[in-house]
């Protein structure tokens, strides 16, 4: 789950990472109230889960209530790269001396955590990585060891944060220690907070020598939600389309695409593979839908309901290879769904693996014209494409 900036900052605060005082608002009136409380000048920032807000006009400085109201009104409802702004974050403007970068994520190749720190912050870090890779310090952290204060300080020093701050002597050492302290807190947030990504860009040094997070980019690991009851209040579905919202409510792994063959498969790999094959035979997948391992009758019925809600779908291809998923449960699910939902499209099903024969027998016994069995993945993809009125390659 990706967090909005304001949620990320609230999450940071739980781990003692300093941020600017501020608050969130969804109307211009609320924005002014927050700004009055915070004290001017304030920055009004669009809350969207996409980069490039500043360039799109989604970040503005306001010197008084009048300006705060005007900026909030303009930004709320604005479209930024297809995302509608529903909230703004208002915070006290900071006097910035330096802009840095800090993040933790998992390096899957090294199978260790990766800490990245740079004195070149405030810009797209991928651009820095491409144009000046030496400006980014990359240090692996073994999850068994964690990140000590000493190691954090050595990373800060290697990145030259204090050295480039214009400060000298004890002042410079103080800034370095403060940055290292924040880095340890960010690591704690990343690990104990079960983040896939915890990123601060920019991490700033203020003109009066304090270090704090001016932005927050946090992605939480959905697999860890069982030990974070506090996450439920941060869950939002306003970045999803209607089909995706329905799928999420039903606990399905669904990604909307723009074709006309609805796809249901068990397992992410097979679902992707099914999309690939449909495209290869000349069809176009309307979605990716993984009903998961152990998919039972209810899940199958739910999956069909979601697909049925997509008006671009003209045929449905169910591709199941049983492992944990048992064929007779899948078949029962389809039969149940046919009784529960009035499906607009015909179904082509290809069933193999655990208890596939039992499953096929149940489907054959049901004898619906809207239900076609096909023996192989490619034949099924062709059949589904034809039924949808597509042209075979």
């Amino acid at each position: 789950m990706d967090l909005y900036e304001y949620q990320g900052k609230q999450y940071f605060a739980r781990f003692g990472i300093p941020t600017s005082p501020g608050g969130v608002a969804s109307t211009a009136e609320e924005a002014v109230a927050v700004a009055d409380r915070t004290g001017y000048p304030v920055v009004v920032k669009a809350q969207v889960k996409v980069g490039g807000r500043g360039k799109a006009g989604g970040i503005k400085l306001a010197g008084d209530a009048e300006e705060a109201r005007a900026h909030a009104s303009a930004i709320l409802g604005m479209d930024i790269k297809g995302h509608t702004v529903q909230r703004v974050w208002i915070e006290r403007s900071s006097d910035i001396a330096r802009e840095w970068y800090a993040s933790f994520t998992l390096d899957r190749s090294a199978k260790k955590h990766l800490c990245m720190v740079s004195a070149k912050g405030g810009v797209d870090i991928e651009e820095v990585a491409a144009s000046d890779p030496g400006a980014i310090v990359r240090r692996h952290v073994d999850p068994v060891d964690g990140l000590s204060a000493d190691v954090a300080l050595s990373i800060v020093d290697e990145a030259g944060l204090a050295a480039g701050s214009g400060l000298a002597g004890d002042d410079a050492r103080g800034v370095a220690r403060e940055a290292a302290d924040l880095l340890v807190k960010l690591y704690t947030c990343y690990v104990e907070g079960d983040c896939d990504l915890a990123e601060i860009n920019p991490l700033i040094l203020t003109t009066d020598g304090r270090v704090h997070a001016l932005d927050a980019k946090v992605t939480l690991d959905d697999n860890a939600s069982f030990r974070h009851p506090e996450w439920s209040e941060m869950a939002s579905d306003d970045d999803l389309d209607e089909r995706e919202r329905l799928a999420r409510a039903k606990g399905l792994q669904y990604v909307g695409l723009d074709g006309f063959v609805g796809i249901i498969a068990n397992g992410a790999g097979l679902a992707m593979s099914t999309c690939d094959v449909v495209e290869q035979v000349g069809g176009k997948p309307a979605n990716f839908l993984d009903i998961g391992g152990g998919a039972n009758a209810d899940q199958m019925a739910n999956a069909l309901e979601v697909i049925n809600s997509d008006h671009n779908v003209r045929s449905i291809f169910i591709n199941i290879f049983g492992g944990i998923t048992r064929g007779e449960e899948v078949a029962n699910g389809i039969v149940q769904a046919l009784g529960r939902v009035e499906l607009r499209s015909p179904i082509v099903i290809r069933l193999d693996g655990t208890n596939a024969e039992e499953g096929r027998a149940i489907l054959a016994g049901h004898g619906s014209e809207r239900l076609v069995s096909s023996p192989t993945m490619i034949e099924a993809a062709q059949k589904a494409t034809e039924l949808a009125g597509g042209t075979l390659k």
Partner: protein
């Protein structure tokens, strides 16, 4: 021969109760011919369930039965501890099929095993397991889709495409030595590289079918190894050619970020390393049939 598991493998199932997934799949594994010697459950030590003696810990099961492999399907909150328990009991081969383990737990356990239990191999988590055709099946693969006798070794990140690939081979009369599902999570215990190296060293495996998917760089690393070290022919298929960037496709690992992790980049890297790259699982089976025909 086979890799990682064979007829001498003695399996302990961790977390057995009359209604657990572990028991359901363990019994199916036993029906396949797998030597299931024990189960564990801290509250049921001393019981016998479906003919399987239950011990209260893996250490006790190892002591009593000489178990040398474990099968874990316990839910995510207890999975990391179950893996560590097996490693501490001296189990050299752990198969964990549990889906949904937090990435931080995986990363910590992986590094703990590397450091404290270097003799232990973890397969998974979030994988279908391993099947050495005709000898041993640990996990959730339906045994009837595998055909004993070799000469093909199979390795896959995706679970259901693993079944599909076994099925494609079997319906063409092509046997398998071992099929290994490494799983699609961010920190798999066993990687393509481990499995490809083991197949290279296994005289009965004469060709390898590799199933990858979008996300990460495991396939690219495998391509480097294949180019430098693998002498046996390799056929590959990468799932997710049509996947849109920036969207997680079910697996935590399956995401195209920017220009990284695309199916095309992986297919290009593999092709450049001399791998026959197929467009779908069926074509992968057909290519492998051509490769096998040339082996004779």
């Amino acid at each position: 021969m086979s890799i990682f598991a064979d007829e001498t493998t003695k399996v302990v199932i961790q977390g057995v109760s009359p209604t657990s997934q572990g028991l359901y799949h363990g019994l199916r594994n036993r029906a396949y011919g797998t030597n299931v010697v024990a189960g564990t459950n801290p509250k049921r030590g001393g019981e016998v369930i479906e003919g399987i003696p239950i011990y209260s810990s893996v250490a006790e099961a190892v002591e009593a039965t000489g178990a040398n492999a474990s099968f874990i399907s316990v839910p995510p909150p207890g999975a990391a501890a179950a893996i560590v328990e097996a490693a501490e009991a001296g189990i050299p081969f752990i198969v964990c099929i549990t889906e949904g383990i937090p990435a931080h737990d995986e990363a910590r356990v992986y590094n703990q095993l590397v450091r404290e239990h270097p003799g232990t191999r973890l397969l998974g988590p979030n994988c279908p397991g391993i099947i050495s055709a005709g000898k041993c099946n640990i996990g959730i693969t339906s045994g009837d889709i595998a055909l004993p006798g070799g000469p093909v070794g199979l390795v896959s990140r995706s679970g259901t495409v693993f079944y599909q690939a076994l099925y494609e081979l079997t319906t063409k009369g092509i046997g398998q030595t071992t099929g290994v599902g490494i799983g699609g999570d961010p920190v798999p215990g066993t990687s393509f590289i481990d499995v490809l190296s083991a197949f290279e060293d296994d005289p009965d495996t004469r060709a390898v079918l590799m199933i990858g998917e979008i996300g990460g760089s495991a396939e690219e690393q495998a391509a480097d190894l294949i180019r430098d070290r693998i002498t046996k022919p390799v056929v590959a298929y990468i799932a997710g050619v049509t996947a849109p960037p920036g969207r997680k496709m079910g697996h935590a690992g399956a995401i195209v970020s920017g220009s990284h992790g695309t199916a095309k980049a992986k297919m290009d890297a593999l092709a450049a390393a001399g791998v026959e790259v197929a467009q779908n699982p069926t074509e992968a089976g057909e290519r492998m049939a051509e490769v096998v025909a040339k082996l004779a």
